[in-house]
Symmetry: C2
Subunit: 298 residues, 2 copies
């Protein structure tokens, strides 16, 4: 399997599905929906939905299930996109560029951007409970909603962003850095692959393996993010390069230097791959995703 | 049944449950959780959770079910509170006072207030899917999550707030005013009583009756809100009185005058009460709630 081809195919599937599920309304609500679509279709990598699909495929062993998993995959992308819109707000990171385009609030204003994020978060749970799309047993869907809402909530993504914001420009311990990264980024990545696994019918041991895999690639993902913020350019990233250092943010390179950080990211990916040892060849897509996370350039 | 006693008892139950479910964490996340608790325990009327409990009790005919319905009731209050925190933000209504206390962003700053709202929205769906609390059949819980997420989402509460914000100070039609009210306020009120009904095992006809009831009291609620904004004082309301007129907001009194608006609110409550005709004496709490919505003073 060629990783690049696989990722592109999956990305197209996710975007086709997002487009299909996304509300199509005329009348009064059309402008509001446009503000959601603007950020949702601004060209993300779609890593979380792809992880979800790969987790489901690994456990169920069939592609027949993919159509049933796509709403879950899309819900994860809605949650991720909402978090980006809110992170970019003037009151938070105040970023003008995201995925190479003006951020939501730059285009639509602050109030509309706050509401676009609010709406996308809510729409994610609409997707996760929509009986028109969902073909997974109700008990498994409730478990997925629980896993996802905890990963995105006050002790997960939102809590991590809170810690990130309040500690900006202040010296923090490595322990706190890890907590911020794990909660802000790692938990939703873990939830993505785990939600897929639950949709595929994972047993307890499989859930444990997928959780370990998700935690390890989540760590690698964030370290690589920190490294790219130092080494890449704004043009390549599609968002402001060098911004962490300018803001005095604690990062892996700031703690350990670039070379050691790269080694830590590679170690995390090795550990992720090891956690899939029990799965054999079926885990090739997840292994490829782990390698991609290490070698990505944006 | 004395309405005031009933409402107070139910309010206490809801607040006791909210306190029980609300995350109790020390360590890094404690400060963030405090920002949620601040607004959640700032003394609301708890109308949505009380409607939910009353809807469930009406359908199931027993109080035995109450403990199972409380997490749903509390989730509705979390959603309502998140919407208040975001509505009050400087980029939206820029209100400094809510429920008689400084608004969330006045106390914790804008970034923390945005995140407190984000976290409360997410926590609502955690509550709705948490197997520690939930005792309702999974299929009914998924239906409740679907009803609630649609009521709160881009074509519901958030969409209504978007329309409210973008039309502030502009002349709008009565049709648009109704759309704004119904989506911003009405849909979550309807979802509250309907979610309770579904939890109680409502059939299609009962769901239809509860939806009609919810729509009618939702309308009455908003008309009375508009009237109180004109007739009451900031002290009595616990939030800024006279603010609608100062901002050039379209309201029922602005369209129809105070007397006609009062008549319209009373008519809506009559219509709500009529939609419960099939239920007999068991519907007394919902009828009392409808009357309370008409005669409330804050």
């Amino acid at each position: 399997m060629e990783t690049k081809t696989y990722l592109n195919e999956q990305k197209e599937r996710v975007e086709e599905a997002l487009s299909r599920y996304m509300l199509k309304v005329g009348g009064e609500f059309a402008d509001h929906i446009d503000t959601l679509r603007y950020s949702l279709f601004a060209g993300g990598k779609r890593i979380r939905p792809i992880l979800c699909l790969a987790g489901a495929r690994l456990i169920s062993g069939t592609a027949d299930n993919d159509e049933a998993v796509l709403p879950i995959a899309c819900a994860l992308e809605c949650l991720h996109t909402y978090s980006l819109i809110h992170d970019d707000l003037p009151a938070m990171d105040d970023d003008a560029l995201r995925r190479g385009k003006p951020t939501n609030h730059v285009v639509y204003g602050e109030a509309a951007a706050i509401l676009a994020g609010d709406a996308l978060q809510c729409f994610a749970f609409d997707l996760l409970s929509n009986s028109d799309h969902i073909r997974i047993p109700p008990q498994a869907m409730l478990e997925i909603i629980s896993v996802v809402s905890r990963a995105a909530g006050p002790l997960g993504m939102v809590g991590g962003q809170y810690l990130d914001v309040v500690h900006e420009g202040r010296e923090i311990s490595y322990d706190l850095l890890r907590t911020i990264h794990r909660s802000k980024t790692g938990k939703l990545i873990t939830a993505s692959v785990l939600a897929g696994g639950i949709a595929g019918g994972a047993d307890q041991r499989q859930k444990k393996n997928l959780t370990e895999f998700g935690n390890a690639i989540g760590l690698a993902f964030q370290i690589v993010d920190d490294i790219l913020n130092v080494e890449s350019t704004t043009e390549a990233l599609g968002k402001a390069a060098g911004s962490d250092s300018a803001r005095g943010k604690a990062t892996y390179p700031a703690f350990f230097g670039l070379e050691q950080s790269k080694k830590m990211a590679a170690d995390a990916v090795d550990s992720a791959v090891r956690s899939l040892n029990g799965f054999g060849d079926d885990a090739a897509p997840l292994r490829a995703l782990a390698q991609y996370i290490l070698t990505r350039t944006k």
